[in-house]
């Protein structure tokens, strides 16, 4: 290696960095996978993207100065998910995603009784929300994040977090209580 090469080697992380990374970041792997699964709506895709995100986080780790490793990691996971969605299914990641056009009716009451549990219905309903609503709901309800943390992770202003959450919950409620009716949607 010549001198210019030596300079480049400084960005290679040492074992000490990995120990730090193991201690601070890896405990949030569950949260990372959960967010990826709900954003991508697939366990398999989430597994790939989580791995990619963790390696990416590790590469950027020397730049991590903050105190909240979970928010930092989830931010990277989220960005990796959106990049992945753009590449693989451009429809899903569209900011302009209009739920009123994309809502498909859930099975009627009888079918639901047969189809199974509350959990399945809820999963289906959540998966019909836009990625933006879904991520905010998952961060709030499953991850227990504060509005401020959600704002950090999603790079949205707190006001937007609040309104996205309100809209997401209202839609979720509609999907669960009025299955199969589309009229319920256009007034929101």
């Amino acid at each position: 290696m010549d001198d210019s090469g030596q300079g480049k080697r400084t960005d290679v992380l040492l074992v000490q960095d990995r120990e730090q990374f193991d201690r601070l970041v890896l405990p949030h792997l569950r949260a990372a996978f959960n967010l990826a699964r709900w954003l991508l709506r697939s366990r398999e895709d989430a597994e790939d993207v989580t791995q990619e995100a963790l390696l990416r986080a590790f590469r950027f780790f020397s730049g991590f100065r903050g105190s909240d490793a979970r928010a930092w990691l989830l931010q990277i996971v989220r960005n990796t998910c959106y990049t992945w969605m753009e590449k693989n299914r451009s429809m899903d990641s569209s900011v302009e995603f209009d739920e009123s056009l994309h809502l498909s009716p859930l099975p009627g009451p009888e079918a639901q009784a047969v189809a199974g549990s509350e959990r399945e219905r809820l999963t289906k309903a959540l998966e019909q929300l836009s990625p933006r609503s879904r991520e905010v709901l998952v961060l709030r309800e499953l991850e227990g994040c504060s509005y401020k943390e959600i704002a950090t992770i999603t790079s949205m202003p707190i006001g937007t977090v609040m309104s996205t959450l309100a809209r997401g919950r209202e839609r979720l409620q509609q999907l669960l209580t009025r299955p199969g009716t589309k009229e319920a949607v256009h007034d929101v």
Partner: protein
């Protein structure tokens, strides 16, 4: 406060995100507003349904181990423990090889080996940078192609094209095993003036036309197909050198 104005506030109230005066104001509004009271009750019930449903996705069993392994591979050992690190690397390579023999990862790798994706390209550059750590450059150090080529026998299920190009200005330095996207690959190491060039070799099936090149952090890479193998040369030397080496290898 109107019901319209309270729409988001209701959710902030539900989430305990209002300050004391804000909460008091909203509670005052609630007393006189049956519509908001109903909405709040419905949302509270939705929340308990969500909590009850245990939607938190369980972690796949082996994901954490997989990630730990990848992190180990992409971090460099401390310099003074060079020898132990080398032995550890050899042990890791052996384990990976055992896994690799079953080739369970191969179909997945084929689907993902598209070097036009930045993730795959970054990984190749990273693997090269990693190899520049002390003790990592080669597993078999020899300028003799007749030593390097047989070394790969039984270690990878394909025969990498090993030739020395010392006369053309690209002396063969050795070879090693590396891991890209979970697959064991062969890496040949050539010298070029004061630079090192890693040439990664792994099997690839399907269409043969693709040829890629790119740069990242001052490292250049070019990649091409040769029969059933994909080759990818990475270095901090200039692209002309890489192209010249490619021509030599594919000659």
């Amino acid at each position: 406060m109107t019901c319209d104005a309270s729409r988001s506030v209701l959710h902030a109230y539900l989430d305990g995100e209002l300050d004391a005066p804000g909460a008091a104001e909203f509670e005052q509004h609630l007393e006189g507003c049956t519509s908001c009271t109903r909405t709040l009750e419905a949302q509270e019930s939705l929340r308990s349904t969500i909590q009850r449903s245990q939607l938190y996705e369980p972690l796949p069993l082996d994901l954490e181990n997989k990630i730990r392994r990848q992190l180990r591979e992409s971090s460099a050992p401390a310099t003074r423990k060079k020898i132990y690190a080398w032995r550890w690397l050899a042990a890791a390579a052996a384990i990976i090889l055992l896994v690799g023999v079953s080739w369970k990862v191969l179909p997945k790798f084929r689907a993902n080996s598209d070097l036009s994706t930045s993730a795959a390209a970054a990984e190749i550059v990273d693997a090269h940078i990693r190899s520049l750590q002390p003790g990592h450059l080669t597993d078999v150090t020899s300028t003799d192609q007749h030593t390097v080529k047989p070394w790969f026998d039984g270690k990878v299920p394909f025969a990498p094209p090993v030739r020395d190009f010392a006369e053309e200005g690209f002396p063969l330095i050795g070879g090693r095993l590396d891991v890209l996207q979970g697959q064991t690959v062969a890496a040949l190491v050539y010298g070029r003036r004061k630079h090192f060039i890693s040439v990664f070799v792994f099997p690839e099936h399907g269409e043969e036309s693709e040829k890629y090149s790119g740069a990242k952090n001052g490292y250049q890479w070019i990649s091409w197909r040769q029969g059933e193998l994909r080759l990818c040369a990475v270095s901090d030397t200039n692209r002309d050198d890489l192209a010249a080496l490619k021509d030599l290898i594919s000659r």
